[in-house]
Assembly symmetry: D2
Homo-oligomer: 376 residues x 4
């Protein structure tokens, strides 16, 4: 793995590195960790990389790695930069024959996302998007339960992703994470929408197997001087007629990473909370409440395959993140071995395009006073 | 207390009787428990009432009780019939000088509610509406925290009231509760909206002290053959600029009485869940999470006054309901004694009118594809 | 019902009155509310009792009520005094033909308990002991599950009753509740043991249907100047070979009324928490966790009969307490009607004797450095 | 890092490898993964190790690695074999100049532990014992709160480690984990005592800073044909006069890894649950309940230093385990650099000896019908 972005002080770069390492399948071999060449090289050294694999720019990295022997060169690129720096390195990496893992949202604009969709297709390379929460074992169980019809027909959905860290003007402090997220030139047209709303959107569509047909979004810009949404309340209409709400916020004071989903069907319902990820609570027409735990009883294989450790030993954020990397790496190795994997089970460029359509639909709906707006 | 409705087999009549009795202030002395005279009298006898206080109709009850000495006659009327049978008995009772306690929603139509508002005013009598959940000790604490500015300026609200008991066509079975609730001639224009949505609306306005300015409602009618909403997703805009969501449902399979509220301010936030009513969870900018319990530490007097038993001994639905009765009875006794109570703290005809406006606004918004609709 | 004790300022008298009233079966008709005649009469008047039914002493009450017509006189006596004032009024009431409801522990000493056992037997009258927690719907469910063999053979038990209100020297303040509880002339030889340990003991034996064969108790006296235990850790060996722990405390700072039980069998296990009484959590060899709620799915009739209100509307302390009164009153009415009830399902003098044996065994074990001590 | 044990099919070897890798400080460079030379080598290859670093025995590994240059050779040995295979490799590694990380309990017998204590001292090398649960951020917070006197004087303790996986005779199936754990030649004289009891013992002493002075243990052997304890109930007396209970079990059906601790002091109390590790619940004399979360507000530096990711993103079992490795590796690097770390904060040989004394005291107490037995 070669990394683009994620130099010292970065939050998400470190997460990607830890997550990629957990399962012993992936090794960081090189990186262009910063747009500042000095910083890039220093960051690589701090990670114990050999000097000649610490690059001054991602362009240099892609070209020099390409020139190495197949044995030696990186197998794929991980892009962990702010949104505006996703498209160009992804394009170059794919066009030079490297698979790509990319942080979300996939690009700065919807146009970039659509362009990247074509580039991926043309390249024949793999593209993984780190909607990491779908890597949780019990999210897999939830998806399998819906897919197998256990809940009957889905009628109602609640999804939320609530944070409070932008309750105050942290972007005016030296908080790098906040600074670029409130800046449309780096984040795109969505604020909370892009940063966490896309996770909520992806989770809903992943778990239910349904598409959001149309939405009505009432966005808020509560932080003084901000131009991007830091809060949003959204009505959802799903492809099968189900209805729902989505609530996202970065000014929900006190919330940490309260991503949660509830799905109600005609035969059963389920709820899952990211902050307590090792419980899946389900309700049934004629049975008592049933609570599933990873590696507990009566789980679908899609869930059992995911857990690394025995029941009752909590897995968390990094493990879920690692599952995205593991499934991607397994797919990449299968491709190398000429094998086929029917459902590699990690988010792809399709999820990326979908996320951008979600952002654009929500922003447009909000401009029209929360008028219903389709995602296609 | 004389009761109108609540004959054998009724659910809510029994609740009113139990709730009224808990604090030893109120005694059931008479009743017209059914529109069927036979059934009314039998119901009264089963409640150990003397034969001459078991009436054949509410009209008879009001007239005969009026004719009794002040000492002997009932002090007030409790109306626990379906919605379409609220207005007439309430009007007659008030006009004959009796205070009234009435179940919610206050009337069948908004017009009736507005008419009743005038009648109450003219009568000079007390009118209590049993939005019982606001009787919980920690709902009082929540309200006091907001009122005292502890949370700062309110920015975001989530409220929900989710039930699942109408997930299947129970109205086709012998479920009397379901039958009238899905019948617009008895329920009015709102289904879930009237039955539980008004509780959610009342809770939001009670706790935050804010008014819902406008809403955008997407209602669902999922049960086959139904004409009234059994599900609703609503965007809220509050009088101070706060935004929020409301989700109500009677087809949220597995939910029992999941009424819950979250309020986010600029300095703190709180959440309360009816099914776990003895915890108020709060978050703060610079403090750890604080959880309040009834009769625990650091409570406002408004909350301390409410609990009947020591900390750790759960109070529940009946106790909260009883608090409405207790505060109403206390007010009635004060009036009798010529005393004034500044804030008697029970829902009144104003709350009733507000609830009907909410129902009408939501239904109208839904007709217009969830267009923003004001409540006034 | 005639009440002995429970005058103004009393905590538990008020609880008994509220609990007795909830189900509309019992009316307070007279009382001797205090050993101070003035206070007794004033207390009765504050409860709206007629003057001639407010008695100056329990002896007067029993004699004068006895002299009334059957129609008019109280049906039973409720004794809500401190422990040292249980035996004499209970004895007199029984011997004058009144049923008795008595607070726990049943008497001051084991000898008194054994004597009372004979008196009850000889009188042919009913005797109920208010181990109120066993009145919870889900405690009934737990008992039924064990009795029906759902859990298989019971192997392990954890029970605790933890409070923190005696963490500081509240008995030196004007806290009447604390004052008599730390006084052996009023409490007997057990402190926390008698006040809450007997609840824990009763709960274990009620739920499991097993007896505590022997115990090893390490008691603590942490409060300065106290002579009675305010804390205890106990090993249990049950009649079927199961083993367990009991932890009781009134100096467990921050605990409110944390009574909880876990029972592990060869096929399943269960746990119940008094502070969250509307959930029964169960685990199974080959099934996911199942959580039962009152009036939810798959409950035993013993549980369904108990709940007064629909699923999701919490019942609490008073309702559980009321169930003891309801079952007792139902039994008393059946007796009056010459009918038989197979299992009236409320704690009796047998539970009272058992509780005293528990206290005495624990105190003796503790004297012998936690040596194993039998309960018989 | 060179690993001893942990070949294919091992559970804990994989955990150690993942945990060691998370923070990017430690690389697996060699191993003797099995006592079967073939299996050892195959296991190493499956881990992508170079052939010449896959050894046929631990003796070979220690000798050959010793012969490598300092640059190249492993920095330390991780011993992840069953208990009876801890002492010899640890001794040899230490005596050949390697630091050691060892799984718990430290050895098969107390004599071995005492011998190893001397060997560690003589060697001057570091020895870490993987009592991994103490690596949780909020366990550090709990310890710091007690150490700083926030809770006042500790009076009461509850600790438990409950599992249910030995509820049935899984040792008769092909469950390798179960087979050696019920075999005294591989486990030592303690069954559940050694496997999980030592974790409970270590957690109590780590969090409270107190020592267990004496204990009274009632052990159970519930599984048919077993000779070692699979259940235990223990009374504790601590070095400062505090009292408590410990409950451990591997036949507590349905329990997964329910390690939990409650500590009650004169000013506050705390509780922590391993299965929900990202919450520390605290109670106070005059404040509401406060709940701490990793990277939340008002944490001690000892806790803040531990979390790798922002608040609300759960860390779990592997992260806590990784913290032991991180602190150990940091210490080893400091030693290499000639620096001193005042409190390296990982369990050492002292904890290992303490754990063995605990096992021996409990077994002896149990032989004497739960007589009080000291740990020294």
């Amino acid at each position: 793995m070669g990394m683009i972005g994620g130099g010292s002080g970065s939050f998400i770069g470190d997460v990607h590195r830890k997550a990629a390492s957990i399962d012993g399948l992936i090794e960081l071999v090189c990186g262009a960790f910063s747009s500042d060449p000095e910083k890039s090289i220093k960051s690589g050294q701090a990670l114990y990389l050999p000097e000649n694999r610490c690059y001054r720019s991602y362009e240099e990295m892609i070209l020099k790695e390409k020139a190495l022997s197949e044995e030696e060169r990186m197998d794929f690129v991980a892009i962990v930069t702010p949104n505006h720096m996703h498209f160009s390195p992804a394009k170059m990496a794919l066009e030079h024959g490297f698979h790509v893992v990319c942080d979300k949202p996939v690009t700065l604009t919807l146009d970039e996302a659509l362009a990247l969709e074509s580039i991926v297709a043309k390249s024949g390379k793999l593209f993984a998007l780190t909607h990491n929460y779908t890597g949780n074992a019990l999210v897999k169980q939830a998806r399998a339960m819906v897919a197998n019809g256990d809940l009957g027909t889905i009628r109602k959905i609640q999804v939320q992703y609530l944070q409070g860290w932008l309750s105050t003007a942290v972007e005016s402090t030296d908080n790098k994470q906040a600074a670029w997220r409130v800046d449309p030139t780096k984040s795109g047209i969505g604020g909370a929408l892009g940063d966490i709303g896309t996770h909520a959107e992806n989770l809903v569509e992943y778990v239910t197997g349904l598409k959001i047909d149309e939405l009505a979004a009432d966005l808020g810009v509560f932080g003084e001087g901000r131009v991007l949404d830091d809060d949003g309340n959204v009505l959802l209409r799903m492809s099968n007629g189900a209805k729902g709400t989505m609530s996202i916020s970065q000014i929900a004071l006190g919330e940490e990473n309260n991503l949660a989903i509830k799905v109600y069907g005609t035969r059963g319902s389920l709820e899952w909370h990211q902050e307590n990820p090792n419980q899946l609570i389900t309700h049934w027409l004629n049975d008592p409440i049933k609570v599933y735990t990873p590696n507990g009883n009566n789980l679908y294989p899609e869930c059992l395959n995911v857990s690394r450790i025995p029941a009752g030993h909590p897995e968390g954020y990094l493990e879920a993140f690692a599952t995205i990397y593991k499934n991607f790496a397994t797919h990449a190795m299968a491709v190398l071995a000429g094998e086929t994997i029917e459902f590699p089970d990690y988010p792809t460029i399709d999820d990326g395009v979908r996320g951008m359509k979600f952002i654009y639909a929500a922003v447009e709906s909000n401009k029209n006073n929360a008028a219903w707006t389709t995602l296609d």
